[in-house]
C-alpha cells in the first residue's frame, strides 16, 4: 500500500482554532492519517481529556521526541503494547490520587491497557505558570530532579512508557481559564505540561505524556464544544493512557540492531499551523528539504511563511485541503495538474 509518511504538529498553548483545546485536532489527525497512510503526531493533538482513539496509522510521540524524530536523531518502532507506569506528583491530595488510580484500573479492566505500577515523587514537582509572554502559555517546574528520579524507578522495574500526573495550582488565572472554556482563549496550563513531558523524554528517552491533576471545577453553561472533552469525568488521564498504550518505541540512530518501523528518512512532509513555523520540528524539516504544508489555523503566534524563503512550502486553507495535497503526494499526482491556470513548462536555461 502506498503511503506518504507525514508529521502533524499543532504546538501546545498557542490557542490554535483547531488543536488549541481538548483533543480537538484529533479528527483532523485521523483525516491526515487516512490521506497519508502514516502520521506521526503528538499528545496535544490526540489527547481529549477522557476521550481519545487508537489508529494503526497514527504514531503517538511526545513533543520533545517528535522534534528529535524530525531532526533524524531517532526512529520509531511499532509495538503491540507498552507497559505503562505512572508518576504522581507528591502534591496531589489523596482523593484526587484515588480518582486517578481508579482511571488506571478502569483502563486495565475495560480497554485491556497494561498499566503496571505507579510511583509518587519524593518532593512536590512545583508547577509555576508564567505569563511573561503575553498571550502565550508558558512556565516551568521547580523540581525536575524529583520527576526524573521517579521515572528512573519505574524504568528499573521494566516500565516502557510513562504517564505523568502533576498537581496544578487551583489559583491559576481563572479569567483566562473561563475564556478558554468559552473557546476564546489559550490553554494556560499547556505550556508547563509540555515542559514536564519534555524533561522525561530528554532524560529517560521513553514514550511519555502528561495529564494535569486539578480540583473539580464548576459546571459551565456556555462551554465551547472544543473544550468539552475536558469536562467529562474527574481526570484527564484516560487519553494519556490510551495514547501511550501503543506509542512507538524510540530508537536512537544510527542503530543497526533493532527493527525500525518508520525511519525519519521516510518522512516526506510536515503539516503545521500557518503562524507556528518557528518550532524546532518545522525548522528541522526545512533543513532536510521536506514539504512544509502550512494550514490556515490561527493562533496567537505570527511566525508565518512570509518570513521564510523556502521552495517546498505549500499554503492551504484547511486540513481538508491538506489531506487532498497529501493524497496527491501519495498517489504520485503533481498538485499543479489539479490547479488552474495550468501553465506550459518553461525553458530551464
Amino acid at each position: 500500500m502506498r503511503t506518504t509518511p507525514t508529521i502533524l504538529v499543532v504546538p501546545t498553548g498557542i490557542g490554535c482554532e483547531i488543536g488549541g483545546f481538548a483533543g480537538d485536532a484529533l479528527p483532523a489527525a485521523k483525516l491526515l492519517a487516512s490521506a497519508s497512510g502514516c502520521l506521526v503526531t503528538h499528545p496535544n493533538v490526540m489527547n481529549g481529556g477522557a476521550l481519545s482513539e487508537k489508529d494503526e496509522r497514527i504514531f503517538y510521540v511526545e513533543g520533545y521526541s517528535l522534534d528529535r524524530f524530525a531532526k533524524a536523531e531517532i526512529g520509531l518502532k511499532k509495538v503491540n503494547q507498552q507497559k505503562i507506569g505512572i508518576i504522581f506528583d507528591k502534591n496531589i491530595e489523596n482523593n484526587i490520587l484515588l480518582r486517578h488510580l481508579q482511571v488506571a484500573d478502569a483502563c486495565i479492566a475495560t480497554l485491556g491497557i497494561d498499566v503496571a505500577s505507579y510511583v509518587i515523587t519524593d518532593e512536590p514537582v512545583g508547577i509555576v505558570i508564567s505569563n511573561e509572554l503575553s498571550g502565550l502559555s508558558s512556565g516551568y517546574i521547580k523540581n525536575p530532579d524529583t520527576l526524573i528520579k521517579a521515572g528512573k524507578i519505574l524504568i528499573n522495574q521494566g516500565i516502557t512508557a510513562i504517564a505523568i500526573v502533576t498537581r496544578f495550582p487551583d489559583e491559576v488565572d481563572v479569567e483566562n481559564i473561563n475564556l478558554y472554556r468559552e473557546g476564546k482563549g489559550i490553554d494556560v496550563i499547556a505550556g508547563v505540561e509540555a515542559v514536564i513531558s519534555h524533561i522525561i523524554s530528554k532524560y529517560l528517552k521513553v514514550p511519555c505524556a502528561h495529564a494535569p491533576a486539578l480540583a473539580p471545577i464548576d459546571l459551565k453553561v456556555n462551554l465551547d464544544p472544543r473544550a468539552a472533552a475536558e469536562e467529562i469525568g474527574y481526570t484527564f488521564l484516560p487519553s494519556v493512557l490510551i495514547g501511550l498504550s501503543t506509542a512507538p518505541d524510540l530508537i536512537d540512530l544510527p542503530n543497526f540492531n533493532k527493527k525500525i518501523t518508520i525511519h525519519p528518512d521516510e518522512i516526506e512532509s510536515i503539516v503545521a499551523p500557518s503562524g507556528a513555523l518557528g518550532g524546532e520540528a518545522v525548522l528541522a524539516c526545512m533543513e532536510r528539504n521536506l514539504n512544509i504544508i502550512v494550514v490556515k489555523n490561527e493562533g496567537v503566534l505570527n511566525v508565518s511563511s512570509e518570513w521564510f524563503d523556502y521552495q517546498r512550502l505549500f499554503k492551504v486553507e484547511n486540513y481538508l485541503e491538506a489531506a487532498g495535497l497529501l493524497t496527491a503526494f501519495k498517489e504520485g499526482i503533481s498538485y499543479r495538474s489539479i490547479q488552474r491556470p495550468l501553465n506550459s513548462i518553461k525553458n530551464a536555461i
Binding site: 504546538p11 511573561e132 517546574i141 511566525v303
Partner: protein, 58 residues
C-alpha cells in the same frame, strides 16, 4: 530551570536550511535546552529580528 528571551538579528546571508543550527549555536551555550521556539519576528529598516524563548536547565 530558567526561561530566557533572545532577540537575534538574522544575518542577511543565512539560508533557511541553516536557521535552526544558527539559533542553536547561540542559545545552547547557556545550558541544557528543554524547549525553545521562535515566537515572533520583527523587522526594522535593515534587518529581521528573531524573538526566541528558551527554557533551559542549568
Amino acid at each position: 530551570m530558567q526561561s530566557i528571551y533572545y532577540e537575534l538579528p538574522l544575518p542577511k546571508y543565512i539560508n533557511v536550511k541553516d536557521l535552526r543550527k544558527f539559533i542553536l549555536g547561540i542559545i545552547s551555550k547557556k545550558g541544557e535546552l528543554i524547549r525553545w521556539s521562535i515566537y515572533d519576528i520583527d523587522t526594522t529598516e535593515n534587518e529581521k529580528i528573531l524573538k526566541i524563548n528558551a527554557l533551559i536547565l542549568n
